[in-house]
C-alpha cells in the first residue's frame, strides 16, 4: 500500500521536478511537533480528536522526535519553509529560534485573551520572554532541586539537607568513602548554575552584553569544586555524564546528594530499589536557587494557519487537557489550577512525589541560568568546555575562567 503510493508519487513527481514541495498545505491542516513523549500517544491522539470535534474539517498531524533529533529536524523543516505549526521545545532552545524569527510573537494574542495568560504561573511564563515579547506557553515545567540519600546522611551523622555551598562540600566530604561519593549534579543546559548563583556569581552583566563571571569569588568556587571532585567528595560523573549516568549512579545508592530537576525522581525510583519516603530526602538547594528546564509550546512564524495553531496551543494548555497530562505523567504543567489539583490529590496518594513536585512551584522567583539571550547555545558551548577542563583538573580555575571569558565575550560581541 505504502510502496504503491510511493511509486505513484515518484512517477508523477519525477518529471515535474520543480513542482511545489510535497507537504501540501491546501487543506486546513496543522502539524504538532513534540519532544520525546511518544509514551503519551493515547493522550495526544485524544487531544487531537477533541480539537477536531471543536474544529470540524481540520487535520492535525502529530510528529514526535527525541531530544537530540528535534533541533536538526525542526531546522531542516524551517529551511525548507515547511516548519511544523506547533512546536514543543525544551530548555533554552527556543531562544535561538525566537531570535532568528522562527517563532510567532504571542504577546498580542495573550493581551487580547487575558484568560489564557492568567492560566499560567507568571514566573514560569516569563521564562519564555525575549525582549519583552512572549514566544511560548508552558507545556510542562521542571526545575532543579536537591535529592539526598537519608540513609547515607544518617550513617555520616548528618541530620538535614545542606544550608550553604560550603555545607554541600563538607557534607559530601563526610560521605565520600571507598565506592561512595557525596554529591552529584546534572550539568547540561546550565543545570549546575545554582552552585554558582548561591555564591553570588553572575554569568553576565545585567544587560547581557558582557561576561561577568571572571571574579575572584568565581575562581574560588571553581577551585573548591575541582578539589572536591579530585578527592571524590563530588562524583566526577557530575561533569561528564548527561542524564542516565548521574541518575543511574545516584539510584545505585552510594551517592549522598543529587542536584537535578524533578524528572530525575522518576528515573531514580525506577532504578533504585531503596527509594521511599524514609530514605529519599527532598530539599531546595541552598539559597533556594534553581534552574528551570521546562517544555514550552510555540507557533512557527512560517505556519500557514497561525490562528488554527494558536487555537491548538490554547486547547492543549486548557485545564482539561493539561489536567490529563498532569495526572498521567505526574508532572506540573504551569497551569496554576491544574497544578494545585494535582498536588492536592498527591498529598495523600503519594507523599514522596508530592514533596518532589511541591518544590517546583516554590521559590519560582529564584530561578537562575535562564538568561534570555539569543546566543544562549553558543555561549553555553563557549563556556562549558572551559569550566569542565577546570573541574576535571585539566586547567587551573584562573586560566579556565580567563579563557572562557574571552570566548564568551567573543560570542556576545558577534551577535
Amino acid at each position: 500500500m505504502l510502496s504503491r503510493r510511493t511509486l505513484l508519487k515518484a512517477s508523477a513527481v519525477m518529471p515535474a521536478a520543480l513542482a511545489a514541495p510535497a507537504i501540501g498545505q491546501t487543506r486546513r491542516s496543522i502539524s504538532f511537533l513534540t519532544w520525546n513523549i511518544i509514551d503519551q500517544e493515547p493522550l495526544i491522539r485524544g487531544w487531537i480528536a477533541s480539537f477536531q470535534r471543536a474544529n470540524p474539517g481540520v487535520e492535525v498531524e502529530w510528529l514526535d522526535k527525541k531530544g537530540p533529533e528535534l533541533p536538526p529536524f525542526y531546522q531542516t523543516q524551517l529551511a525548507a519553509g515547511t516548519p511544523p505549526d506547533v512546536v514543543n521545545t525544551q530548555g533554552a532552545l527556543w531562544l535561538e529560534y525566537a531570535a532568528s524569527g522562527a517563532l510567532m510573537d504571542m504577546t498580542p494574542r495573550l493581551a487580547a485573551e487575558p484568560e489564557v495568560k492568567n492560566r499560567f504561573n507568571a514566573n514560569y511564563l516569563s521564562n519564555w520572554t525575549l525582549q519583552g515579547r512572549n514566544y511560548m506557553l508552558p507545556f510542562y515545567i521542571t526545575k532543579t532541586l536537591l535529592f539526598y540519600n537519608k540513609t547515607m546522611f544518617q550513617r555520616a551523622g548528618l541530620s538535614g539537607p545542606p544550608q550553604s555551598f560550603d555545607d554541600i562540600l563538607a557534607f559530601a566530604g563526610r560521605m565520600a568513602q571507598g565506592e561512595s561519593t557525596g554529591f552529584l549534579t546534572l550539568n547540561f543546559d546550565w543545570l549546575y548554575w545554582p552552585l554558582f548563583a548561591m555564591n553570588g556569581v553572575d554569568l553576565l552583566t545585567p544587560d547581557l552584553r558582557r561576561p561577568a563571571f571572571n571574579t575572584p569569588k568565581a575562581i574560588e568556587v571553581l577551585e573548591k569544586l575541582a578539589r572536591a571532585s579530585e578527592s571524590g567528595a563530588i562524583n566526577k560523573i557530575s561533569w561528564t555524564g548527561r542524564w542516565v549516568e548521574p541518575n543511574g549512579a545516584f539510584a545505585a545508592g552510594n551517592v549522598g546528594m543529587l542536584h537535578a530537576h524533578s524528572p530525575a525522581y522518576f528515573f531514580v525510583r525506577g532504578q533504585g530499589n531503596w527509594v521511599n519516603g524514609d530514605t529519599l530526602g527532598v530539599a531546595h538547594a541552598p539559597g533556594n536557587f534553581s534552574t528551570p528546564n521546562s517544555h514550552g509550546l510555540g507557533v512557527s512564524r512560517g505556519s500557514r494557519n497561525p490562528d488554527l495553531a494558536w487555537a491548538f496551543v490554547k486547547h492543549v494548555t486548557a485545564n482539561e487537557q493539561a489536567g490529563q497530562l498532569a495526572t498521567q505523567r505526574r508532572i506540573l504543567t504551569g497551569n496554576t489550577q491544574v497544578d494545585q489539583a494535582l498536588l492536592a490529590s498527591l498529598r495523600s496518594e503519594d507523599p514522596l512525589v508530592h514533596s518532589v513536585l511541591s518544590t517546583q512551584i516554590e521559590h519560582t522567583d529564584k530561578m537562575v541560568g535562564n538568561w534570555p539571550m539569543p546566543q544562549d547555545a553558543r555561549v553555553k558551548d563557549a563556556f562549558w568546555p572551559e569550566l569542565q577542563s577546570a573541574l576535571l583538573g585539566r586547567k587551573s580555575a584562573r586560566q579556565a575562567l580567563a579563557d572562557a571569558e574571552r570566548r564568551v565575550g567573543r560570542e556576545l560581541s558577534r551577535a
Partner: protein, 123 residues
Amino acid sequence: MRLPRWMLSRWFIVPATLAAVVLGWNLHVAANATGEVRGRVVDATGRPVAGATVLLFERSFVVNTEKQRVVTDAAGAFRFQGNASHAVQLQADAPAGKSERVTLRLLFRAQDADLPAPLVIAR
C-alpha cells in the same frame, strides 16, 4: 522421496524455519491470550486469606496504573479477567495488612498466567 535442490539451500531452509517458528508462536499466543491472571493470597503463617482485595496495576512508562481489583474467595484464590498488558504488578490488601507489590512479567500481552508464589500479607 527426493527433495528438489532449492529446498535444501540455506536460502530456503532458514527463512522457512523462521516462518514456521513465527507461525507456531502466533498460534500459541492466539490460544493462550485469554487475559486471565490467577493467584492466591496467604498470611504470614501460610494460611489462605479470604476477602482480601487484590489490586492489579498495569505498567506504563514511569507509573503503574491501577486497572482492576478483585476479592479473594474462601480458599484465598483470586482471578483477574481481561488483563491486556504484558507486565503487571499485583498487591493484596486485607484488614490485617498489605502484601508486597509483586511484578509479574508475561511473554506476550494478555497471557494466561498463574502467579508462581502466593501474595503474602504482612502486618
